[in-house]
């Protein structure tokens, strides 16, 4: 989040009779920026559905694929409405003691065509709002990977609404909202490594532990029912992520280009590294591994993409593949928790790697509005990154625990064993994805 406007042009042109037009074009609204952020918003929507929906949908058993598609789809509906009604105001509205936004902008009051220079001075405020809406949508959708194949649909709905309101909105305010305490401290999170990935990943782990294992889960993955779906979803995630990361520049400029290039580079490095690790460790590279590695790379470069150079993006990609592979293929099996689709192993761990990497590799030469990291002699920034990481992990974990207990007491989070065995598609939605006989 930055702004490097050509405001300095304005004074010399003030006497021009075209003053108003020039002012509008150069210092208030920029059609290129607006067009790009609108496009980026649509790209981020594509990440949730069909991207994440098919990435996760392919990984579950055939009896549960519709439940994943439904959860991703209806999250878009629920969180979009929550966001315009009050979520945006809580996250980005006028600050209340650095902790939360007030409800002054509830129902998008005052959020219209005029830019808000605190967030993005060259695009309409409503464009910034809808771009952020897509982030609010995808974050609870990432958690689906942890409770896949065993959650009750009404409980999922209530959990999602509470989580979006009491975890995502405050966290977004701390890190990105004007007056938010982490933002005031100088914490760097370009596109959501902390706000989106660490928060959802940690919550995923807490949920996986509280919900318990799926019936029949025995320390090894349950076989994916449709890997082509998963690969299609991963490819759509990669594509949409350009909107997520480069769009976070909030302008069509050099910084957006840097974010685009570092995103692609880190992702390529992580996908290749994961394939090579598998080759060395298991004897063959797999497409599921390569796609998973790419997603881990996307996650890790997210907080860093607007602060690091492309060569360091390669390091970030390699490091995250090594760490996430260890988390998913070695540690998870040993600890025995059932994070069905590795929401924690990829997003929680990858987001953590990315946040720390930002504190290492960030440099002002890339983004003057950012800061130098540890490798450029700034221990202070590294400390801030670690602090925001610890605070986010603690906050997300505790809040998820509390919300789980509330929903579990009110509705019950987990489906009955009989229904879990038959599958969520038939028992929660009364429909089946595939026919055995016409």
């Amino acid at each position: 989040m930055h702004k490097n406007l050509s405001i300095h042009l304005a004074p010399s042109l003030l006497k021009s009779k075209n003053e108003k037009i020039l002012k509008r074009r150069f210092t208030i609204m920029n059609s290129g920026d607006t067009a790009w952020v609108l496009t980026a918003s649509a790209l981020v929507l594509l990440m949730t559905m069909p991207g994440l929906a098919f990435f996760y949908g392919g990984l579950v058993r055939r009896k549960n694929v519709l439940s994943i598609l439904m959860q991703c789809f209806i999250i878009v509906c629920i969180v979009s409405l929550q966001w315009v009604l009050f979520g945006y105001s809580l996250a980005f509205g006028p600050d209340f003691h650095g902790i939360i936004g007030t409800l002054e902008w509830a129902g998008l009051a005052g959020v219209g065509a005029a830019p808000n220079s605190n967030y993005a001075a060259t695009i309409p405020h409503s464009v910034f709002m809808i771009f952020q809406a897509m982030f609010a949508v995808i974050t609870p959708a990432l958690i689906i990977g942890a409770y896949a194949e065993r959650v009750k649909f009404p409980a999922f709905l209530l959990f999602t609404l509470l989580w979006a309101t009491f975890v995502y909105d405050p966290l977004a305010h701390w890190v990105w909202g004007t007056g938010g305490w982490i933002k005031s401290l100088g914490g760097l999170d370009f596109a959501g490594g902390i706000v989106v990935h660490v928060s959802s990943g940690i919550s995923a782990l807490v949920l996986a532990l509280l919900l318990g294992k799926r019936v029949g889960y025995n320390h090894k993955p349950i076989r994916p029912h449709n890997l082509p779906f998963t690969v299609l979803g991963a490819a759509l995630l990669w594509f949409g992520w350009f909107g997520f990361n480069a769009g976070s520049a909030l302008a069509a400029d050099g910084l957006a280009a840097n974010a685009f290039v570092t995103t692609n580079t880190a992702t390529a490095a992580a996908g290749l590294t994961w394939a090579l690790i598998e080759w060395w460790h298991n004897g063959t590279p797999t497409i599921l591994g390569t796609a998973t590695g790419a997603v881990a790379g996307l996650v890790a470069i997210t907080p860093a993409c607007g602060f690091v150079n492309p060569m360091n993006a390669i390091f970030i990609g390699i490091i995250v593949a090594l760490v996430c592979y260890t988390a998913v293929a070695v540690i998870k099996g040993k600890l025995g928790y059932d994070d069905s689709l590795d929401a924690f192993g990829v997003h929680g761990v990858g987001g953590t790697v990315g946040t720390i990497a930002t504190g290492l590799f960030a440099e002002k030469a890339v983004n003057a509005a950012g800061a130098d990291g540890l490798l450029f002699g700034n221990l202070h920034q590294f400390g801030i990154q670690c602090l925001m990481l610890v605070v986010t992990i603690a906050f997300a974990a505790i809040m998820t625990f509390v919300i789980f207990k509330i929903v579990d007491a009110a509705i019950g989070m987990r489906v009955e064993e009989k229904n879990e065995i038959i599958g969520l598609d038939l028992t929660q939605q009364s429909e089946a994805a595939y026919t055995v006989i016409e």
């Binding site: 028992t427 429909e431 055995v436």
Partner: protein, 113 residues
């Protein structure tokens, strides 16, 4: 020689396979099937149109065995697939007239194992 046909719950396949391996029965053919028994199917709804009591997914095992293995096989399948409720499935045992191993041309009991 007998052909043992077992219809079981899909999620019990792994448990049944483990029990069969424990009694040294390692060869089988497995198919996805649908069917209906005393366990009623679930209602499905497509754009408001209800379809009551659809067929349920089951797994079918075809196991050819020599006489000495018939009872151990039946016991193993039962141990693996039993929960005590309707829907656990059925086991059918039928006479097997002949068995030929394609690779060697062997016939009868030696071709089964």
């Amino acid at each position: 020689m007998k052909l043992i046909i077992a219809i079981i719950q899909p999620h019990k396949l792994e448990a049944v396979k483990r029990e069969l391996e424990a009694v040294d029965v390692n060869l089988m053919t497995v198919t996805n099937v649908v069917g209906q028994g005393r366990q009623k199917g679930l209602t499905e709804i497509y754009r408001g149109a209800k379809e009551a009591g659809g067929l349920l997914n089951k797994v079918r095992l075809d196991i050819a065995v020599n006489e000495a293995f018939v009872e151990p096989t039946i016991d193993a399948v039962t141990r693996g697939a039993h929960t005590g409720s309707v829907g656990d499935g059925k086991i059918f045992v039928v006479e097997l007239a002949e068995c030929i191993r394609i690779s060697s041309g062997e016939r009868g009991g030696v071709a089964i194992g």
